[in-house]
């Protein structure tokens, strides 16, 4: 695997279209994936994640736009280019009548690795994915999780610089899913670039960049934190006032305070406020000072903290915003 170049981009996609039919395909895909990072592509089933991966692998040719992977057009990959790429497809495509070791060696041989290199890497990689003890077990005798790990080991045998994994955590339990992300982050830490698709929204937290996809379009591409901020309009400070009767007064004061982007009350929770700011950690003391200033309003806040926002909420919010946009545009 070649060393990570500073500011180098593994994948650069600009306005890429691949249309299979009315409403089917991917449209106007623009994203980039820096080398040595993980891009998580999140979206519901059938939204175009696999098509995006297949475009980047050169299995499909874009109908419009520019797509470069490792500095080349994927459809023009040479065998040497392909040796830099690893791929874990959605389904288990290794052989049930071959052992774990034979399956991994088969994939390694496809990438031109000699027997000696294979043996050394095989032991290390099987240890890495915790399949060493099962190395002589047939593919047909593996559990779903073991099959996925074997696929990962196979895809890493030739030490690819860029790894594509199409829903590698689909259908496996949360513990194993967490372990998979450990593997991926370790691979990232070693300098590899990973493009991972998933339907599990909460996995966005493990990625360096997250692309949210719906109906063949990328709705957002950013770091998980930025994505959260963008979706929610910033970070949210939640607080409860000691005197619920002073909520209106507090809202009025905070709305006039410049760093505050929005203030929200909940009718079923008297004295409860949600205050949106750019950075909750940075602005929380200031917000509290404005309310509790003894020379000012002197509103006592009984409790305050950053509102934990799940990526499910972020995802839903992004979807809702997209729906609203579409309705606005159609209106």
């Amino acid at each position: 695997m070649s060393a990570v170049r500073s500011n180098a981009v593994a994948i650069e996609s600009q306005n890429v279209d691949l249309i299979f039919g009315p409403g089917a395909g991917v449209f106007d895909l623009s994203y980039s994936l820096p080398e040595g990072s993980i891009l998580g592509m999140i979206g519901p089933s059938g939204c175009g994640k696999t098509t995006t991966v297949r475009l980047a692998l050169g299995l499909y040719a874009p109908q419009k736009g520019q797509l470069r992977v490792l500095g080349k057009q994927p459809t023009s990959f040479t065998p040497e280019d392909r040796e830099q790429i690893g791929y874990i497809p959605q389904q288990f495509v290794l052989y049930p009548n071959l052992t774990v070791a034979e399956n991994a060696s088969f994939v390694a041989s496809l990438y031109g690795l000699s027997g000696r290199t294979q043996r050394k890497r095989l032991n290390e990689l099987l240890a890495f994915v915790e399949l060493y003890e099962a190395r002589n077990r047939l593919g047909s005798q593996l559990s779903g999780g073991m099959q996925r790990r074997l696929m990962l080991a196979g895809a890493l045998m030739h030490d690819p610089a860029l790894l594509f994994a199409d829903e590698p955590t689909a259908g496996i339990d949360p513990v194993l899913r967490g372990r998979f992300w450990d593997y991926f982050r370790q691979l990232r830490d070693e300098g590899r670039t990973l493009f991972i698709t998933t339907q599990v929204v909460s996995e966005a937290v493990y990625c360096d960049r997250v692309a949210v996809m719906r109906r063949g379009r990328l709705l957002a591409v950013d770091t998980p934190e930025n994505l959260k901020r963008k979706a929610m309009g910033g970070e949210i400070i939640q607080m409860v006032l000691e005197d619920p009767n002073r909520v209106r007064e507090a809202v009025s004061i905070l709305s006039r305070y410049e760093p505050v982007k929005a203030v929200r009350t909940l009718s079923d929770q008297p004295g409860y406020l949600q205050v949106t700011v750019d950075d909750a950690g940075e602005w929380m003391p200031e917000v509290l000072n404005v309310l509790e200033d003894p020379d000012g309003p002197a509103i006592t806040v009984s409790s305050a903290g950053e509102l934990p926002v799940s990526y499910d909420d972020v995802f839903i919010r992004i979807m809702q915003q997209e729906d609203a946009n579409e309705q606005y545009q159609s209106a």
Binding site: I85, S109, L138
Partner: protein, 518 residues
């Protein structure tokens, strides 16, 4: 993986990869990947191998060891007239009919025999006419009726052929008997003819009226004898081969009868003096007839009946037993069937598994994929063939030809068959469809490869089909090599080579298109 302790997990997932320097080395490693994968998979499927090789081998072994000949056994009841056939004993009839038919009964009850025929207890009824000998003697053609209710066209053909052969034999027996009778008759006539000639000599010398009347009586007897003999003489067409001109004999008999009539009349009306020249002519004719009769009497009757005889000798000593004769065909069938079945499943399973997608992403080509599979399956079929050839050799099956040519022929047969198998795999959309097509190919091969039925038995379209079946060339080539000790025909080498090439190109094109869609 000799070590049993797993390596420690470290920050570095695994050691850096050192790739082979030369592109060709990497190319060959990729071919080897498919080769080894296929061999591992085959090794793990002993039941598949057993059913692939053992199944057809057992069936054909059973056929080879139990097959006797292709002539059907025809159970026959003879229907004779009440009281039997005049002039022929039942034993004689049994002997004549039993050569080709298995006589299970002799009866006079046709209805009962027909009931047996209807129920399938017997296959043929032979009905003899009332008076065979009498009809023959009267110049009529008696008919022996053969009745059957065969549904198998081959069996019906055999019945018709065997009936024809039997009637030929009966005709020969009649002719021989007739000739023997004629020869006996001729012997008697010859003696009388000598006496008559003495009397004719006396007539020439102006004998007494008493002597003339005696001679007249003898001449009349001789005339009747000659007439009877004339009717019993063999047919004219046998005369050339029997070195006797029966037409000349008949002509002389006719002249002599006319002369005798004239002499008879001249004796009666006392004008013999005026016809003495006829008397001399008659004497000369009788002398010639006597010579011809001598030739006829000395002739063996069977030479008259069947002047042409056949001899047969097999220059190799004798033909092989059926089990030996069919062995090269069985070998060709097993090689082809195994290769086609392996090939037929090879690509479709990869396609259904989704492996084509992985192959497209990896730096491998369709040529490497196919080469790897070709080599793996060829090695497997070669091993299987070597084991079978060894087994057959130990069992005493002859291998008269060059073993190198045999190996090369089996190699080409395997490649051509694999090509057909891969082609089946490439066009099939499921495992079961591929197996079905492989079985259809097997059936097609059994019927149209010359394995059981000679290719000459088929019309041109089927003969063309046979040329695109690898086994056709395998059967003829292996028969030549193993049983005759000669090289396979030029056509066999060329056809197998072309089939290998065309099928490979077709598979590459089709699979490349499928890979592009994967």
């Amino acid at each position: 993986m000799s070590s049993t302790n797993p390596p420690e997990r470290s920050v570095q997932t695994a050691s850096p990869v050192k790739r082979p320097r030369f592109a060709l080395t990497r190319w060959l490693i990729r071919v080897r990947a498919y080769l080894m994968k296929e061999l591992y998979e085959l090794r793990r499927q002993p039941l598949l191998i057993l059913s692939l090789v053992g199944g057809p081998l057992l069936v054909l072994l059973l056929f080879g060891t139990t097959f006797r000949n292709s002539n059907p056994v025809l159970r026959t009841v003879l229907i004779t007239p009440p009281g039997g056939v005049p002039g022929i004993s039942i034993d004689q009839i049994r002997a004549l009919a039993g050569t080709n038919f298995q006589i299970v009964g002799v009866s006079e009850d046709l209805d009962s025999a027909q009931a047996q025929l209807d129920s399938g207890e017997i296959d043929v009824i032979q009905v003899f006419p009332d008076d065979v000998m009498g009809m023959v003697q009267r110049g009529e053609s008696p008919q022996i009726s053969f009745l059957s209710n065969a549904i198998n066209p081959v069996t019906e053909g055999w019945i018709q052929y065997l009936a024809y052969a039997q009637v030929n034999e009966i005709n020969k027996a009649f002719l021989q008997q007739q000739t023997e009778t004629a020869q006996q008759e001729a012997s008697g006539i010859k003696l009388r003819l000598v006496d008559t000639r003495v009397q004719i000599l006396e007539l020439e010398q102006q004998t007494t009226p008493e002597k003339q009347r005696e001679a007249q009586e003898d001449l009349r007897t001789l005339r009747a004898d000659l007439e009877r003999l004339e009717s019993q003489l063999p047919r004219q067409e046998t005369s050339i081969l029997a070195k006797i001109d029966f037409a000349d004999l008949r002509r002389r008999i006719d002249i002599t009868k006319e002369n005798i009539d004239l002499i008879d009349r001249s004796i009666s009306d006392g004008t013999l003096d005026q016809h003495l020249n006829k008397v001399r002519d008659t004497n000369q004719e009788l002398a010639r007839i006597e010579e011809l009769l001598n030739l006829f009497i000395e002739l063996p009757p069977d030479r008259v009946v069947a002047p042409v005889r056949q001899t047969y000798s097999n220059l190799r000593g004798q033909a092989y037993q059926a089990v030996i004769y069919y062995t090269p065909g069985v070998l060709a069938l097993l090689v082809q069937h195994t290769a086609i079945t392996l090939g037929a499943l090879a690509l479709i399973r990869e396609r259904l598994l989704g492996a084509f997608e992985v192959f497209r992403v990896a730096p491998v080509s369709i040529t490497q994929l196919l080469l790897g599979k070709y080599i793996a399956y060829t090695l497997f079929v070669a091993l299987m063939t070597a084991l079978m050839v060894g087994g057959l050799y130990l069992m005493g099956v002859p291998f008269l030809g060059d073993m190198l040519q045999l190996a090369l022929l089996c190699f080409l047969l395997t490649l051509a068959s694999l090509g057909i198998g891969f082609l089946i795999s490439a066009v099939s959309s499921s495992d079961s469809q591929a197996i079905q097509l492989a079985m259809i190919t097997l059936l097609l091969s059994i019927f149209f490869s010359g394995f059981f039925i000679s290719l000459d038995s088929f019309a041109l379209p089927a003969q063309i089909i046979s040329t695109i079946i690898p086994m056709s060339h395998g059967v003829s080539g292996l028969q030549n090599l193993m049983l005759r000790g000669i090289s396979p025909s030029y056509l066999a080498w060329v056809a197998l080579g072309i089939l290998t090439l065309i099928s490979f190109v077709a598979v590459v094109l089709i699979t490349r298109r499928q890979l592009a869609k994967a």
